[in-house]
Symmetry: C2
């Protein structure tokens, strides 16, 4: 396979960063997404079509050597049509599981991996069962939720009923509200012939349901080993290929799975400057069946999302040691427009620099 | 200037790597070159035209915010036409000086910077003057030479006359053959408002007139300071903006300038993984008038060119810690098709890894 071409379904920032990692490997990229000016479309060729356009997906499959996704919410029928014609990684079944919060939780339960306690909600009677989780609890739509959308924090039965009403009485899942010490995520990469690698655990901070910042490595050998076991179990279930991310709550009882993403992940953006091989390059290597690159950290790294409105580029680049990643998107409240990364050999100094950077960016956002 | 667009004259590997550094800054790129499948054209939009097509250069200028070059051999008339319409960096006069080996040498002499002894050769009488440099000496065309092309090593008057004949009796320059300890290069970046930065000196090894490998940093505070003075003097002469490279011979008498390149340079490719900010990103920052990024090294780095024929990607990526840069070019003897970089905290271990890598690649090339 000389100069292979990868098809990428979805041309958001994740696809864009995949392409920027693919080019130095001599790999060509073709996106499929609805807009030519999408983040990916700005840096690669693109087939413009909706993600549920199976005929267009088949055309993408027929013009590429392997297909992957930058988003998990692609209709499974389309993914299966692609997979019948060309290699598609991750496997459609893994993507399907991640599309449904209930299926995902049941997957983890079936693998013996502790999750947040949950109750499926499909009718009014289920709301009473949900109350047994205790208050407050979180009601989430089973499908199409991301970045805190489709989620309600409710404090009593009345609020729960109102929330389900507000969600349109769609199939939902009620989850216990967990007291946690921190949120961490683990990014693993699974290649051909059983090759795999795991980045160090990343500690994540959310604001209003959205990832705000990540710091890595979170050094705890016991938690690292436990988290790796979880990813390994999921990967084995699906014969997984590519990057896989699992988010955990770190509680006094250990790790509880929050959710999984069958793809590169915002909490792994620090790997571009902070690891020997970025999650994007390793995803490309994995789906092409090439040897994986080292997942070891290069010192310590902190990633900060740029949400809603970009501070002036000139001001960001004036911050010593700042690495900017502007996704080329137009501003919109709470929209992920870019991120920046700091690296440092010293974790304490890194955290001080991160605090200073947060202050600069917060002063811009208001 | 929101989402600025940079025009890049020439779409070779240098332009390609500029674009890959520009995208994360939210910068758009448009190339001008003769082929859509050029290394740059594969990763960005391209105006297809010859580099001496002034009308096309003007169209490029009119559709971009700032223009730069990935190659110095663009006719100066075209560059000046561009510079009358839009900011063009580096300044055309600096590019012009680098197009002519004699003008370049005289520039350094006028700045009091030691160069290899030289004699201009424009007629038969000059050949006799050249003999005074001693034997052997190197006869080079004044213009359009690169990577050892247009150069003859000659050992006596007869060979010198034959060489000039073979070069077509074009204007040439005879240079003394220098005994040197090593070849080093310094890459500097010059931004707006007098901002500037210098990467650490890089030690270079050539094979058959072509750069083969680079190792950085070459730590010698005295030589570093001396080399920085040279670049500073050249930059001041031209009101320089962008990345500037000067190659030196390190001799028992100190540094002698070999040649300059008014652009990013093969001997700075290690900065992608081995420095806080790559030469490509800093060139983009400089020409856009943005704050420069740190030029500090991250540990030690070694760069090895991939010439003539690419080893199989799979085999390269199996080398632990190897960073691959495939330029997307078709094979041709001695052609620069890509490079790979190793980084290491320990210089001694890095050199061992470099030796092993050279053996792997040499075994592929033969």
């Amino acid at each position: 396979m000389n100069a292979p071409t990868i098809g990428i379904i979805g041309a958001g920032q994740l696809g864009r960063m995949m392409a920027l990692a693919a080019y130095p490997l001599g790999v060509n990229c073709v996106f499929l997404d609805s807009s030519r000016t999408s983040p990916g479309g700005q840096v690669g060729s693109i087939v413009t079509a909706e993600l549920d356009d199976t005929a267009a997906l088949i055309r993408l499959a027929d013009s590429t050597d392997v297909v992957t996704v930058d988003i998990e919410n692609v209709p499974v029928a389309g993914l299966e049509a692609v997979a019948r014609r060309v290699a598609l990684y991750p496997p459609p079944a893994a993507i399907a599981a991640a599309q449904d919060r209930l299926e995902e939780k049941e997957l983890f339960a079936s693998l013996g991996i502790p999750t947040v306690p949950f109750v499926p909600v499909s009718d009014r009677n289920d709301l009473e069962q949900a109350a047994a989780l205790g208050w407050p609890l979180v009601l989430k739509t089973r499908r199409l939720g991301y970045d805190g959308r489709g989620q309600w924090l409710v404090h009593d039965s009345d609020e729960l009923a109102q929330a389900w009403e507000a969600l349109g009485q769609v199939p939902a899942i009620a989850e216990a509200w967990i007291q946690f010490e921190r949120e961490v995520s683990l990014i693993g990469v699974f290649g051909a012939d059983g090759a795999c690698g795991f980045y160090p655990l990343t500690e994540n901070v959310h604001r209003q349901g959205q990832l705000f910042s990540s710091v890595a490595p979170f050094q705890d050998a016991h938690l690292q080993a436990r988290a790796e076991q979880c990813l390994q179990a999921v990967a084995e279930r699906f014969g997984y290929r590519g990057v896989l991310t699992v988010e955990f709550f770190h509680t006094s009882d250990g790790l509880l799975v929050n959710e999984m993403a069958p793809r590169v992940h915002n909490s792994g953006h620090w790997t571009i400057e902070g690891a020997q091989t970025s999650q994007f390059e390793n995803h490309m290597r994995a789906v092409l069946g090439w040897p994986l690159g080292s997942t070891a950290a290069r010192g310590h790294a902190a990633m900060l999302n740029l949400l809603g409105r970009m501070p002036p580029t000139r001001q960001l680049l004036a911050v010593p040691g700042l690495h900017l990643h502007d996704y080329g998107k137009s501003p919109r409240p709470a929209r992920k427009l870019g991120h920046c990364t700091l690296v440092d050999d010293d974790r304490h100094r890194l955290l001080e620099r991160l605090t200073q950077l947060q202050e600069i960016i917060d002063s811009q956002q208001t």
